[in-house]
Amino acid sequence: MAFNPPYAITLDAGSSLANKTGSWRTEQPLYLDRLPPCNVSCPAGENIQAWLGLTQEGRYREAWEEIVINNPLPAIHGRVCYHPCEDSCNRTSLEQPVNIHAIERFLGDLALQEGWPLPTPAEASGKHILVIGGGPGGLSAAYHLRQLGHEVTLMDAKPAAGGMLRYGIPAYRLPRDILDAEIERIQRSGVHIKVDTSIDNLANTLHDNRYDATFLAVGAHVGRHIDLKTDQSVPLTDAVDFLNGMESSPSSPSLGNRVVVYGGGNTAIDVARTAVRLGAEQVTIVYRRTQEKMPAHAFEIEEALEEGVELRALRTITAITDGKLQLETMELDADGWPQPSGGSETLAADSLVYALGQTVNAALLQGYPQIEVAADGTISVDERMMTAAEGLFAGGDMVPADRTITTAVGHGKKAARHIHHYLNDQQLQPRAKHETAEFDLLNTWYYPEEPMRSQPLLEMQQRTTTFNEVLDGLGELSSKLEAQRCMSCGNCFECDNCYAVCPDNAITKLGRGNRFAIDYDYCKGCGLCVEECPCGAMKMVPEIG
């Protein structure tokens, strides 16, 4: 048909594109990337959200590869990291956090099962670095330095590398085949590991052998003691020695039937639960404050209580007489500190294990007068993780910081990068940090209620009689679906909401993986896209110009 429409009454379709309504705008929307709280709180600096995102899509290998950019020990961390990421997870405000560690464990185990290798190191730099201490900090530093192309020799005093992973954490939390496999994989990436190599005087060692830099991470292996009036009727042990002994000669230690552990940290729990497994009939933890105030993680306390460990909170041990511990009952003052309440009781015991914290043995630093050693043995480092001695870097439990394996891994990574720059006479420039995606920036309507998937627990009989791993892993589907609970805080996950809710069609969808663009010719600045962005990846800013 040939039409000849009348003037003005009939208009051409779509002709309003000539009207650029962008001129109405006083504020404009922007896309931005905010830091998810999980990433912010990860001591190892993992890009958790990124690998959760890949897991959501079933891209497990890429997800694992994303983890090992920052942390070469996913299977270990998936088991024993205390996952501050989950504590900070915004999903907690909705119902429960994403079970991040279980997903990390799934990926870590899958990598071991599939034999995925660590990335190929960069071209050889010709530099040789000594790493002292085969715990998580040393392993991390060695791995990252090797990745950067350096030759790395790692020395450890113990018969096997792993540090506290091996000599502090019981096997029911970290099976040794997993530990061995992840260490071996680092070794396969080209790190020379020398075990049974104790260094008494670092200055001498470095004098005899040329290294371009040194990273020191010998940990804190000295158990803290207190002076206690005792008639010697109850044998005393400390937790470090006990757990170390468990690993070195598992059959030897015996604590008797009635074991009392003194302290409230994770080590106290580890000891108590190990004692249960060794057949003790009565295992009691004595702690001076309340259960809530115990430094140990709540889930570990719960698991210990389930296994029959008894907790006597708000008590101190004042003396040992006639095979009994004298306990003084306490109450918390206004500041939450325990004060004697006047009561007392006794507790019969076959042994008492101190789990009151650990200090550093810094004797190997005797040749470095410029390095100041604190009362607890820790030494200070600068922002590059370098000690007062040129080229000598340190990290892990021996420097003042949170004493967790993940912090140590973070130290190792950080030190490795600074060492790399130090060797190249460069300073590592800190990157500008994006703002954090706080919960109130999210529009959580768009996330359906979905409880966390929990890992299955070993049945109780086995838990109390064997060192078999207590927690089972999440299967593939569960891991994938659990990863999909991630709200992608602060980073666009291409939900298309902005594109859909714009009344002015001012958002262009660029296609999968390419996100969106705002067409400022038509955007009127209503802010609907920002308001309806589920994950806080947009914001309004005053109109420029």
Binding site: P5, P6, Y7
Partner: protein
């Protein structure tokens, strides 16, 4: 049906109109019943139900406003659309009446002319179509039912040629319900005369357009001007189409107006619709007496053929306008149109109002009025058979005040 097409037969006017509509192959017919239009749409509804109208959709609706609105939708979709109404129905659809012409949609509508209330009155006069004479619709008036039928065929052709809607005005009862000898419309000739509707604009998939924009001060005057100029330019096709129709069908009807002994008459009577039949009888009688009188039947009332009429009256000394509508303020609208056409011509003019609300216009009354006119003793405005006794009495009572007895 009483007869086959081509030969005259005794048929009710409404039926003849319905046959004419049917022959025009409308695609959508939509109407709401109102006396005296009902027989037309009843006949069409029956034909549609008997599938005598091809694919034509007959839609029963809840009001005249809806009826014309359905036609608007159909016409804007490129379909030939028809409706019919009367009186209150036309007023009720008034908003859509203006909308149809404003949107340049060639809908055809029959008006079974009837008085408008209140008081409610179902009988014939022409105040309904007159009330909407300026709504941008072409208005054609029929003198008899043959014309009524034939004008509808011309109306579709005209509407679709000039892209304006057309009302065909047919006096209620006097024509719609009258049985006359009528030649029913011939389908073949109608098909030859009336090509398929080719809209200038239509909803369509291939070339989407937005029909019915809001037009602001920047273009509204131009829209109005263009619409009015198309309207005015329709006089020529009205004439040519009627000539073409006459040539093809062998019957003359329509055009702008028709002379009856008026070319050289001193006195010319001017009227619309069926009253022309009576007027012609009266003219015959008076001419037999030797009077120089004739009449002009206006077929195309809108647009009003002012210049043509003035030329046609160049020999006349006076005109008497007889009409069946009367409005407070303006009086007789046809009279006003005629006077405007004759401005500065020196021709005397008389306004005669009659037949309101169905009152019969009697020959003897017209004879008297025309004689008075020819003797220059006619009032400028007079009413046929007005009951002066009632008027005098009621005026007194009215002037005594609303509380007076």
């Amino acid at each position: 049906m009483p007869s086959q097409p081509g030969k005259p037969s005794q048929v009710e006017g409404s039926i003849a109109i319905a046959h004419a509509i049917a022959a025009c192959r409308p695609e959508v017919i939509c109407a709401y019943p109102i006396t005296p239009q009902t027989h037309i749409v009843e006949a069409l509804a029956r034909m549609a139900r008997l599938e005598q109208l091809g694919n034509c959709q007959y839609v029963n609706v809840e009001s005249e406003f809806a009826a014309l609105s359905v036609c608007i939708g159909a016409s804007a979709s490129g379909s030939r659309a028809y409706t019919a109404t009367s009186s209150q129905g036309l007023l009720f659809m008034a908003e859509a009446v203006y909308n149809t012409s404003g949107m340049r949609l060639p809908v055809v509508m029959t008006i079974g002319n009837r008085a408008i209330g209140g008081p409610i009155n179902i009988w014939n006069d022409q105040s309904d179509s007159m009330a909407l004479r300026d709504a941008g619709w072409i208005q054609l008036h029929a003198e008899n039912n043959q014309e009524a039928a034939d004008l509808h065929i011309q109306a579709f052709r005209l509407a679709e040629q000039v892209n304006l809607p057309v009302m065909v005005c047919v006096d209620g009862f006097l024509l719609t319900h009258a049985f006359e000898q009528i030649t029913l419309t011939d389908q073949e000739k109608t098909d030859a005369f009336l090509p398929p509707f080719e809209p200038i604009q239509a909803l369509n998939i291939e070339e989407p357009m937005s029909i019915g924009a809001m037009v602001g001060p920047e273009a509204f005057m131009e829209v109005r001007y263009l619409n009015a100029s198309q309207f005015d330019e329709s006089l020529e096709p009205i004439q040519s189409i009627s000539e073409e129709f006459a040539a093809l069908f062998g019957r003359s009807s329509g055009g702008l107006f028709e002379h009856y002994h008026s070319e050289a008459a001193q006195t010319v009577v001017i009227a619309l619709g069926s009253v022309n039949g009576t007027i012609k009888d009266v003219v015959d009688n008076l001419r037999d007496e030797g009077a120089s009188i004739g009449s002009i039947k206006i077929s195309a009332y809108r647009p009003f053929p002012a210049a043509q009429l003035r030329e046609a009256l160049s020999q006349a000394e006076r005109v008497i306008v007889v009409e069946k509508s009367f409005f407070s303020g303006i009086g007789g609208p046809l009279f006003n149109d005629v006077v405007r056409s004759l401005e500065n011509s020196g021709i005397a003019h008389y306004s005669v109002i009659g037949g309101l609300g169905g009152r019969a216009i009697l020959k003897k009354s017209l004879i008297e009025i025309f004689r008075n006119g020819m003797e220059e003793s006619l009032e400028p405005l007079s009413f046929i058979d007005l009951d002066q006794k009632v008027i005098t009495r009621e005026l007194l009572r009215q002037r005594a005040g609303s509380h007076g007895k």
